[in-house]
C-alpha cells in the first residue's frame, strides 16, 4: 500500500498520462468511410476504450503490488488497441481494397517531413486514394498508437491503484476494487475528452502536426486531475478518519 499523498500525486500523474496518450492514438471518425488515416472512431472514445481495457487488466493483478498493476494496465490497453488496429486494417485492405496509407505523410505534412513511413521506409505518396486523407493504419501510426495505449493504460492503472490504496482502509477489498475501477474510469473519461477539443476529431498520432499542441492538453489535464485528486484525497481522508456524516 502507498501513503495518501503519494496516491494523490499518482492520480494527477495518471490523469495527465491519460490526456497526453490521446495525442498518440491514431483515430478519425471519417476513417469509417476509408476517408482518413486512423481507427474509425473519435480519438477520445478510442482512448477511453483502451484505457478501460487497461483498468480491467490491472484489476486482475491488484494484489501483486504497484509495478505489476501498471504493467498489466499498459499491456492490456496496448493489446486492445493493437487488435483493433489489426482488425481495422484487415477490413480496410480486404473489404474495401484500400492499402494502409498515412495521409499527412503522403502530402509531406508529417512531423518529421518526407513522404515515406518513418520506420519502414515505405513510400506513402501515390497510394492515397484521391479525395481522401489516407486510409487504414500504416506501421508508423501503429507504433504511435502502441506508445499511446501503453501510456494510457499505465495512467489508468496508476489512478486505479491510487484510489484503491486510499479507500481500502475505509471499506472492504471487493468494494475498494469496484469503487477504484469506476473512479479510474471516470478520471479516464474526464481527461480523455479534453484533448479531443485540441485534435478536432482526427489525429494520426505522433506523426501528426497536432502533436505540437500537446502542451495545451498537458496544462488542462494537469489542472483538472489536480482538482479531482484533491477531492478524492479529502473525501478518503474523511472516510478513513471516521468523519462520516
Amino acid at each position: 500500500m502507498i501513503d495518501p499523498v503519494t496516491a494523490t500525486i499518482m492520480i494527477i500523474a495518471g490523469g495527465v498520462l491519460v490526456g497526453v496518450c490521446v495525442h498518440f492514438i491514431p483515430a478519425s471518425a471519417t476513417g469509417a468511410m476509408a476517408a482518413a488515416t486512423g481507427i474509425a472512431t473519435g480519438p477520445s472514445m478510442l482512448s477511453a476504450g483502451a484505457g478501460l481495457a487497461g483498468i480491467y487488466a490491472a484489476a486482475y493483478s491488484i494484489d501483486s503490488g504497484l509495478a505489476p498493476v501498471i504493467i498489466s494496465g499498459a499491456v492490456g490497453s496496448a493489446l486492445m488497441l493493437l487488435i483493433t488496429i489489426l482488425c481495422g486494417n484487415i477490413v480496410l485492405a480486404f473489404g474495401i481494397g484500400t492499402p494502409p496509407v498515412s495521409g499527412q505523410t503522403a502530402s509531406g505534412k508529417s512531423t518529421f517531413g518526407g513522404t515515406k513511413d518513418i520506420i519502414t521506409g515505405f513510400e506513402q505518396e501515390g497510394y492515397r486514394s484521391p479525395g481522401t486523407d489516407g486510409h487504414g493504419m500504416p506501421f508508423q501510426t501503429v507504433v504511435s498508437g502502441t506508445i499511446g495505449a501503453l501510456m494510457g493504460g499505465a495512467g489508468g492503472a496508476l489512478v486505479f491503484y491510487a484510489v484503491y490504496s486510499m479507500t481500502l482502509p475505509a471499506i472492504s477489498t471487493e468494494n475498494a476494487v469496484a469503487l477504484a475501477g469506476i473512479v479510474a474510469a471516470g478520471v479516464f473519461l474526464i481527461n480523455s475528452v479534453l484533448p479531443a477539443y485540441v485534435l478536432v476529431g482526427k489525429t494520426e498520432g505522433m506523426f501528426d502536426m497536432k502533436i505540437r499542441s500537446m502542451h495545451r492538453t498537458f496544462i488542462s489535464c494537469l489542472v483538472t486531475s489536480s482538482i479531482v485528486a484533491c477531492v478524492i484525497y479529502a473525501i478518503s481522508w474523511l472516510a478513513v478518519s471516521g468523519v462520516v456524516a
Binding site: 469496484a178 475501477g181 469506476i182 475528452v193 479531443a196 474523511l238
Partner: protein, 247 residues
C-alpha cells in the same frame, strides 16, 4: 419559437432535483419523477455544446459530463451517507461537480481556446445535473458498488442520446427535450426494475413498484407526445397521398 434558456432550465432542474432527492431520502420513492428535469437540463446543455461542432462527438460530451457528475457522487458516497444526510450529500455532490465542471469548461475556453459560447456554463450544468441524477439513483439502489458502472452507463446514454438522435437540419429544442423526457422515464423505469430484481434496494418493494408504475405512465405519455411532435414537424415532407402540385 423562443427557446428555453440554459440557466432557466437548470434553475428548475436544481430545485426539482433537490426536492426529488429529499423525497426519496425520506422514503417517498415517487420523488424520482422530480429527477426527470435534471435529465432535460443535461440533454439541453449537451445540445448547447455539441451544436457548435466540437471536434468531438456528442457521445464524448455525454460520457465526459456524466463522468464528472457520477464520479463526484460515487466518491462522496464514501464519506457522506446519502441515506442519513441526503441534503448534505446532494450539497457536497453538486458543489464538487460544479467546481470540476466549471474548471474543465474554463480550461477548454481559455487554454485549449475552443470558441464555443458559454462552454463553461454548459459544462457545469451537465456535471451538476448528472450528479443529482446519480445521487438519486444511489438513494434508490443503495450503495452497492457493483451497480455503479450500471448507474453510470444508463445515465450517460439517457443524456447523450436525445441530441444525437434529433440532430440534423430540422432539429429544434422542443423535440430534443421531449425525447430527453422519454429517455428519462425509460431510465427511471429501468432503475425501478433493477431495484426490484436486485433486492438490495434501500426502500421497500412497494416503493420500487411505485417507481416502475410512475415511470411507465410517464413513458407512455412522453412517447405519445414526442411521436405527435415528430409527425407535426415532418408534415412538409410526409407523403399525404397527393402529388405536391395538387397539395
Amino acid at each position: 419559437m423562443k427557446e428555453i434558456q440554459i440557466h432557466t432550465l437548470f434553475g428548475a432542474a436544481l430545485l426539482s432535483g433537490i426536492a426529488g432527492i429529499l423525497l426519496i431520502g425520506h422514503g417517498i420513492s415517487i420523488g424520482i419523477v422530480f429527477l426527470w428535469l435534471p435529465f432535460l437540463s443535461a440533454a439541453n446543455s449537451i445540445r448547447g455544446m455539441a451544436m457548435y461542432g466540437l471536434g468531438t462527438g456528442n457521445a464524448s460530451i455525454g460520457y465526459w459530463g456524466t463522468a464528472v457528475g457520477a464520479t463526484s457522487a460515487f466518491v462522496v458516497s464514501l464519506s457522506v451517507s446519502c441515506r442519513s444526510t441526503p441534503l448534505l450529500y446532494v450539497a457536497a455532490v453538486v458543489a464538487i461537480s460544479l467546481v470540476i465542471g466549471l474548471a474543465t469548461g474554463i480550461l477548454a475556453d481559455k487554454v485549449i481556446r475552443m470558441r464555443i459560447p458559454r462552454i463553461e456554463l454548459n459544462s457545469a450544468v451537465i456535471a451538476m445535473s448528472t450528479a443529482m441524477i446519480t445521487a438519486g439513483s444511489l438513494l434508490i439502489l443503495g450503495s452497492d458498488y457493483g451497480l455503479y458502472p450500471f448507474i453510470y452507463i444508463i445515465i450517460t446514454l439517457a443524456v447523450l442520446h436525445p441530441y444525437n438522435a434529433s440532430t440534423g437540419a430540422g432539429e429544434n429544442q422542443k423535440r430534443t427535450l421531449l425525447l430527453a423526457l422519454v429517455e428519462a422515464c425509460m431510465t427511471t423505469l429501468v432503475i425501478g426494475i433493477v431495484a426490484m430484481l436486485a433486492g438490495r434496494s434501500s426502500i421497500p418493494i412497494s416503493g420500487d413498484v411505485a417507481i416502475v408504475a410512475a415511470s411507465a405512465c410517464g413513458l407512455v405519455i412522453a412517447v405519445v407526445a414526442w411521436y405527435r411532435l415528430v409527425k407535426s414537424d415532418i408534415y412538409e415532407i410526409r407523403w399525404t397521398g397527393y402529388p405536391p402540385a395538387e397539395h
